[in-house]
Symmetry: C2
Subunit: 378 residues, 2 copies
């Protein structure tokens, strides 16, 4: 088994101050942090770049610089990534979701934020922010991507997902107000399925102070850093996968070829399993990836190597380009990188929300480095 | 076949001016006009009577006396009657649905109205009106009961069902704003199913002028008249079924015993078929009732006798008590009465909304008297 040890996390090289018309590095980094989910990053990139070209650059505000009384709304695509690829949202749909929520709340938003940093939902808020002339916050509510509405760090702080607005491409909107964030997930998910398995949501309205308390800081900057590290390594003929692992503070745990992928879209999610036949240092071994929109568990040689909440990233073995779960194809040569999640996900509450047991896997949470997560044994 | 000819409609004997603590006649009449659907009338009666006992009588306003600028909200239970029986809504749930919608619209309602006159939804608005200290309107949007949100006369006038609020017994609410009333039905129905197959809805916000244009007038008075006619006939040892048919301007089309009932709850509806073996004047014949919450079609001796939108009412053969589709039991002796719907339902638009073809029955609309509805042949 290849276990290239990565360099320790060194923090972001530079802090983003605005999103310009080239979102390639951001989208590539977002696809890495999307851990296979969060939708096709190129869709997100195209939408964000078009919005910036039309409305001008979007200012990026660091969490430290956010006023405590800022009115922050989160904007995201919700649904099955397999469907999002075929049903592009319009810029107006993002604005409609925000308008719905803001009207319902009777507030005027001052900032737009990312609910997850993975895939298309790193750039969704940029589309909305450009449309509305608002800044985005350099942060997100997960530090990765997760498939369900309640799976965010603000839930651990008792912050409500609702009122939560949904908007579809036909002009229908819905606003939910639920007793807890699990109910927000249930009602929003069934509405999303009825709307055609994909919608735009505005949710988790909160103050600047709440963002400071519960968000993962520097997420957009980290995306750009990841995307640039990948491109720089390739330009310098260095190993791009190792470069990505280094920025993530993670490890390359498997190399091989995709042998089978079994997937189905169930209740609005893309669920499945991929079998990887080892090559190079992993010749003779097999790995299995299990996903629900995002990669949630990787087994190597029959043993659980790493589970959610830590990050499991699939990259093209040569180019280092991130591969989404729906992009996994028979014969693709990939390397699998595991990396640490925000430590709050390893609390008992965090593991209850998004640990392997929640997703139906009968295993304690196993960290990126193969050790059992303490929260899980408590 | 028994075809007791009924007396022509004579209009309501007296106009209701308030709902007092005895809702027995109203609930019984509502069960008749519910044409088998609209939920258990005794649940509606109990809820309304409890609300009136707690908050005092509810004033009833005639449509003629309604100010054009009145702010009217409609309140109803939505879901499968089979479930409503087991999951009683609280008075607070009605108020919560109205509060949700009123807040969303930024209005203060002045009147509460009935969306349908059948079953529990004749009395649902009384519960809400008592809670809120508002009058109810002596009218409804159908002149009967139908199972789907868009199936109301206001749809024919271009009035929107949305914004539409749903409230469940757990404290969850949803507000939908849709491109048309069919979409309101789709999104509200899936949310209702997720909420446990039964919820309270506040919908079809409209002005007094719109009520005047699109409502069926005198519906609550008609319920009371029906309920009293039934009770009076029984007290006088006259035939209660004939008395009900007379008030409805309808006809007794079949008498017999329930032989089989096949029913299932599908996507939030109670659908099914009942087979009736003839007795008395119909000995040797068979009838079949087809329902989706409400009775939609009756066949006698293999021929379609009457279809939606006209009324098909099942009554206990002896007592004349209305029997809901979920109350149809093997061995029950019933008589089937057909009666005319509001004539607007026989327009092309009306038949498109709620004619037999919409429900998947391959037949033109057949009126209560056995003639084919003109709208259907156009």
């Amino acid at each position: 088994m290849s276990t290239t040890e990565a360099a320790p996390v060194v923090g972001t090289r530079r802090r983003l101050t605005e999103i310009g018309p080239d979102c390639s590095a951001l989208a590539r980094g977002a696809a890495i942090l999307g851990t296979g989910g969060g939708g096709d990053p190129y869709i997100g990139r195209l939408l964000a770049e078009a919005a910036v070209r039309e409305h001008g650059p979007v200012p990026v505000v660091a969490v430290e610089d956010l006023p405590d009384d800022a009115v922050v709304l989160n904007v995201a695509m919700i649904g099955a990534p397999t469907v999002m690829v075929e049903k592009l949202p319009s810029a107006g749909q993002f604005a409609e979701a925000i308008r719905s929520l803001a009207t319902h709340l009777g507030v005027t938003p001052t900032h737009i934020a990312c609910i997850e940093v993975g895939g298309v939902n790193s750039t969704s808020p940029i589309v909305a922010a450009a449309e509305l002339g608002l800044p985005v916050i350099d942060a997100d509510a997960m530090g990765r991507a997760f498939p369900e509405v309640q799976m965010v760090l603000p839930t651990l702080s008792g912050i409500s997902a609702t009122p939560m607005a949904l908007a579809d491409e036909k002009g229908n909107t819905a606003v939910f107000d639920t007793v807890d964030n699990r109910w927000a997930e249930r009602l929003a998910r069934t509405a999303t399925v009825e709307m055609g398995c994909s919608a735009i949501t505005a949710q988790y309205a909160m103050s600047g102070a709440q963002v400071k308390e519960s968000y993962v800081r520097g997420s957009l900057s980290r995306c750009v850093e990841l995307g640039e590290a990948l491109a720089d390594a390739r330009a310098a003929n260095e190993d791009p996968v190792a470069a990505v692992a280094a920025v993530l503070g993670g490890t390359v745990v498997f190399e091989g070829k995709v042998a089978d992928v079994e997937r189905k879209t169930v209740t609005g999610f893309a669920r499945g399993t991929a079998r990887i036949v080892g090559s190079g240092p992993d010749t003779g071994l097999e790995a299995r990836l299990r996903f629900q929109n995002e990669h949630l568990l990787v087994e190597v040689a029959g043993s659980v190597r790493t589970t959610t909440p830590d990050l499991i990233v699939t990259l093209d073995a040569e180019t280092g380009e991130p591969i989404t779960t729906e992009g996994l194809r028979f014969g693709a040569r990939i390397r699998v990188v595991t990396a640490p999640a925000d430590e709050r996900w390893h609390s008992a509450g965090g593991l209850g929300l998004a640990g392997p047991t929640y997703f139906g896997y009968d295993t304690p949470a196993v960290r990126h480095d193969g050790t059992v997560s303490e929260g899980a044994t408590r």
